[in-house]
């Protein structure tokens, strides 16, 4: 069983971002980076599958500048077997261009299962996984919360509003992973040490055409502070007036 997991390096989201002077990316100074959450679930699921089978190989692939190697090592430290960096230094926003590069790498790799997180937590495009599947000509099941691989078949569960569906397809296939499926394990020092010795291949990314470009990145306007207009009954008329005239909700 050969599994590929495509992962993305993203900034820690629990901070207040600043926009870089270019206006096209966030200011990276002081930011910490890690694997996108959903990609982490995907790596964990892939590792669990090979552990359960007692056989198989998990390859993690990431596109980007050399700093993605850190993210790839992290995936190796929690049990992936080998890593590929598709080297491309400039930021790319169009999922199609990325999917083209990934498909070029995946094509002919002999992978039975290709996994993605359902989206990158920073850009939230949700497009790369499904576009890659299309380029590979493989069936894709997106945003799955449970996965069984047996006898050449993939059985997956998808969460809906108040319901769920069970979907089945045959291998090779692409799946994108939703939350709730597995929490990535915490890398042990043993894993971190082992990861340093696992193969990490660097190749130039064969990026496809960028069919759209990011024009501008902006932060939402700061919310104005609340106002205390008074206390008790006396404040009601003023409140009503403001709700009518300023907030225009009445």
């Amino acid at each position: 069983m050969k599994i590929a997991v495509c992962i993305k390096r993203v900034p820690d989201m629990d901070v207040r971002f600043k926009i870089a002077p270019s206006g096209l990316t966030v200011d990276e100074s002081g930011l910490k980076f890690d694997m996108s959450d959903f990609d982490g679930y995907a790596v964990e699921v892939a590792v669990q599958i090979t552990e359960k089978l007692g056989a198989g190989e998990v390859t993690v692939i990431s596109l980007g500048a050399d700093n993605v190697q850190e993210t790839l090592r992290k995936a190796l430290s929690i049990g992936a077997h080998k890593a590929v960096q598709l080297k491309h230094d400039a930021p790319v926003s169009d999922g199609y261009a990325i999917a083209t590069a990934l498909a070029a790498e995946l094509q002919g790799g002999g992978y039975d299962l290709v996994m993605f997180g359902r989206m990158a937590v920073d850009t939230q495009n949700r497009s790369t996984g499904v576009l890659t599947a299309e380029l590979l000509g493989m069936p894709v099941i997106s945003a799955i919360s449970k996965l069984d691989v047996e006898n050449g078949m993939v059985k997956a569960r998808r969460e809906l509003e108040g319901a769920f569906e069970l979907v089945e397809t045959s291998l090779p296939a692409v799946v994108t992973i939703d939350e709730g499926i597995a929490r990535p394990r915490y890398p042990s020092l043993k894993g971190i040490m082992a990861a340093k010795k696992k193969p990490l291949e660097v190749k130039p990314a064969q990026l496809g055409e960028q069919r759209y470009v990011l024009e501008k990145l902006e932060l939402p306007a700061e919310r104005a502070a609340g106002r205390i207009i008074g206390e008790g009954k006396d404040a009601v008329p003023e409140l009503v007036r403001l709700l009518k005239e300023e907030a225009k909700v009445l």
């Binding site: 820690d12 901070v15 207040r16 002081g30 910490k32 890690d34 915490y186 042990s188 020092l189 894993g191």
Partner: protein
């Protein structure tokens, strides 16, 4: 030389030979442990430990009942050892007696002491047996103990004394010219005046034989008994680091660069040989377990069990590693497949520990139960990534954001907004250097309750016109939670980052309100090239108050307030700071009634947050903080003072949950509240 001398010489040779064989066998077992060369330095300090803890029984006396009892037996053994030697020499050398060696007053003194100490030991042994058999002393019980062993040993010692007295008594009956140097023995002999002198002489010899055989038997039973402590405890006290030399409670760094196959310890052969020796020196007295906050509140941890398990597993595994076929029990593969971790000590026991150091403090023979717990935790985390799942976010956040709580590192200095407090970076830019760096810590920076302490302390510093700065965003978690939870990798990452930052600014003096930061920066950062003078805010405020540098309002008619102070483990037991915080309260509040809890100072009960417990759920038994809060409330105090942000959280939560009106303050708040 008579036949009986020849027979005795053979018996003695066999007995000493077998004893020395067993001692060497056990020393061979210690050799399977990890190398540890931190045990031989500073001989004067070690000898001093040996004298005060070993010879003067300093820690034994911490228990007012068992203390004198044990001291009587121990000192008795020391004195009676001379008599035992005489008895043995008598057996080998015909006609030997100290009488011929010692000039008269010296011999009388010797003989009188044999007599008196013999009686004292007999009385103490009798009391010990009585106590064990009739009183259910809680700390002497426990599933892990060997309850029959002490009964056997005590009876054995009793028999040693009885045979000694009887051998002497029959000498008095048998020989009319025997000098009256042992009054108690003579008194015993008066009960046997009806015995014919020639029979008495034979009986004296028989009891001498009984006595020396009991001695030699006792000696050879020791290696198989928990009473091996008779042999192991004095060397153990000498080799122990738990009372110094050096700073106590410091964890040793792991080499993370090497090609280690095992991280921390999973089994006995990965523990330091000294930890293995601790297993031999353990007396199963249970003082450690009786003060363990986890054990007291119904958790599965017993520090005594940890030590007993170490010895059990060592005696199970070592014969297979040393090729000692006589003591190999069971199937080799089955024994080798087991490990100290999991098969003897469970994960839950290990995670129950708050690292409060009460067990180590209490141990009369200076065992280090905590180091075993921490080495096993290291293996759990670094080797197997096994830990309570709720700890994961803390680990991840320490790594990502430099704080165990998921706050934006950019907000670290936010509490100081509008207070006109410079950061080190700002000062450096102006080419200035502060008198002290105020190390705020994560709790002090992000926790709403602790932030009030932070502001209070900053106001005190300002009022005292201390020129200080903070690091702001450049400060990171000191790493203590990671290290105590076994995550040495994460710890070293944080510690090295912090040392780099501090050294970059040439920091010399650091003051902090957090005992965990205090202990790390002052005592453990030197391992990474960070050498600073680190002062805890309690000591710092106390000295500012003493120097009259803090302007405090006069309040002659202020109401009398009753305070009780809760000792933080990392301030108290780890660093010996007990008086400064109490001093601060008394100085700041001229009309204050300071009451002590039942367990205070070095006997203080942990709040429950140490050792990373702050980030773990407490599911079993009573909550430790509730136990402590109940104790504090029971003093009748109207306020509890603390000097640690974690103690603050734990006690505050618990006091609130008990609907108590008792307030919890940090000592800095007490002072800041009275600033003029």
């Amino acid at each position: 030389m008579t036949d009986s001398h020849v027979v005795f010489a053979i018996v003695l040779a066999v007995a000493l030979g077998y004893f020395s064989y067993n001692v060497q066998r056990l020393i061979g077992y210690l050799r399977i442990g990890r190398l540890d060369d931190s045990r031989w330095g500073n001989i004067p300090a070690r000898l001093w430990n040996l004298i005060r803890i070993g010879i003067f029984q300093e820690k034994i006396f911490r228990d007012s009942v068992a203390g004198p009892m044990h001291a009587a037996i121990f000192w008795g053994f020391c004195v009676l050892g001379a008599g035992t030697l005489e008895a043995i020499l008598e057996g080998v050398i015909p006609g030997f007696s100290y009488r011929d060696l010692l000039i008269d007053p010296a011999y009388r003194f010797y003989a009188l002491n044999q007599d008196l100490w013999g009686a004292l030991v007999l009385a103490a042994v009798g009391f010990a047996l009585f106590r064990r058999l009739t009183k259910r002393v809680k700390r002497l019980m426990g599933a892990e103990t060997h309850p029959n062993d002490p009964l056997l040993i005590l009876s054995w010692i009793g028999a040693l004394m009885v045979t000694m007295f009887l051998a002497g008594a029959f000498l008095y009956v048998g020989y009319a010219d025997e000098p009256l140097v042992r009054p108690l023995t003579y008194a015993v002999s008066r009960a046997f005046t009806w015995v014919n002198p020639s029979t008495a002489r034979l009986l004296a010899e028989d009891f001498w034989w009984a006595h020396v055989l009991l001695v030699l038997g006792f000696l050879n039973y020791l290696p198989f008994s928990k009473h091996l402590h008779v042999v192991a405890s004095l060397p153990n006290v000498f080799l122990s680091n738990t009372s110094g030399p050096g700073q106590v409670g410091v964890m040793q760094p792991m080499d993370l660069e090497g090609d280690a196959e095992v991280f921390g310890a999973k089994d006995v052969d990965q523990l330091s040989w000294k930890s293995l020796m601790d297993g031999f020196a353990c007396t199963e007295c249970g003082r450690c377990t009786s003060v363990c906050p986890a054990n007291l509140t119904g958790k599965p941890l017993s520090p005594r069990k940890i030590m007993i398990n170490v010895r059990e597993r060592l005696e199970q595994k070592a014969p297979f590693l040393t090729g000692d076929t006589t003591y190999q029990k069971g199937d080799r593969d089955a024994v080798m497949a087991k490990s100290l971790l999991d098969d003897f000590i469970t994960e839950e026991e290990l995670w129950s520990c708050t690292t409060c150091r009460a067990c180590v403090q209490e141990c009369p023979v200076s065992l280090d139960q905590l180091s075993v717990i921490l080495e096993l935790r290291r293996n759990l985390v670094l080797g197997e990534s096994r830990f309570p799942e709720e700890v994961m976010p803390a680990f991840e956040s320490m790594e990502q954001r430099g704080s165990p709580w998921a706050f934006d590192p950019g907000d670290r200095g936010k509490w100081a907004d509008g207070m006109n407090i410079p950061t080190m970076a700002e000062m450096a830019e102006r080419g200035e250097r502060p008198e002290v760096l105020y190390w705020v810590g994560c709790a002090g920076s992000f926790d709403d309750r602790a932030k009030k302490t932070t502001v209070a302390f900053a106001k005190i510093l300002q009022a005292a016109e201390v020129k200080f700065a903070i690091l702001g965003q450049e400060e990171k978690c000191n790493g203590d939670p990671a290290r105590r939870m076994g995550n040495e990798y994460l710890y070293q990452m944080l510690a090295k980052d912090n040392v780099e930052t501090l050294n970059k600014y040439g920091v010399r003096t650091v003051v902090t309100a957090c005992p965990h930061c205090f202990h790390q920066l002052g005592n453990e950062y030197p391992q990474f090239g960070g050498d600073y003078e680190v002062v805890h805010h309690s000591t710092y405020i106390a000295s500012l108050l003493a120097a009259g540098r803090i302007p405090i309002v006069e309040a002659l008619h202020a109401p009398v307030r009753t305070f009780t102070y809760h000792d933080s483990c990392y301030l108290g037991r780890y660093n010996g700071v007990y008086e400064a915080p109490r001093d601060v309260i008394k100085r700041a509040l001229p009309i204050v009634n300071l009451v002590e809890m039942e367990r205070s100072k070095d006997k203080g009960l942990c709040c429950g947050a140490g050792g990373g417990r702050m980030w773990m759920e407490e599911k079993t038994g009573k909550r430790i903080n509730a136990e402590r809060a109940d104790e504090a409330i029971a003093t009748g105090a109207d306020a509890i003072a603390v000097a640690c942000p974690f103690c603050m959280t734990m006690l505050n939560d618990s006091v609130t949950s008990r609907d108590s009106h008792v307030a919890v303050y940090d000592i800095a708040e007490v002072v800041a509240d009275r600033l003029a």
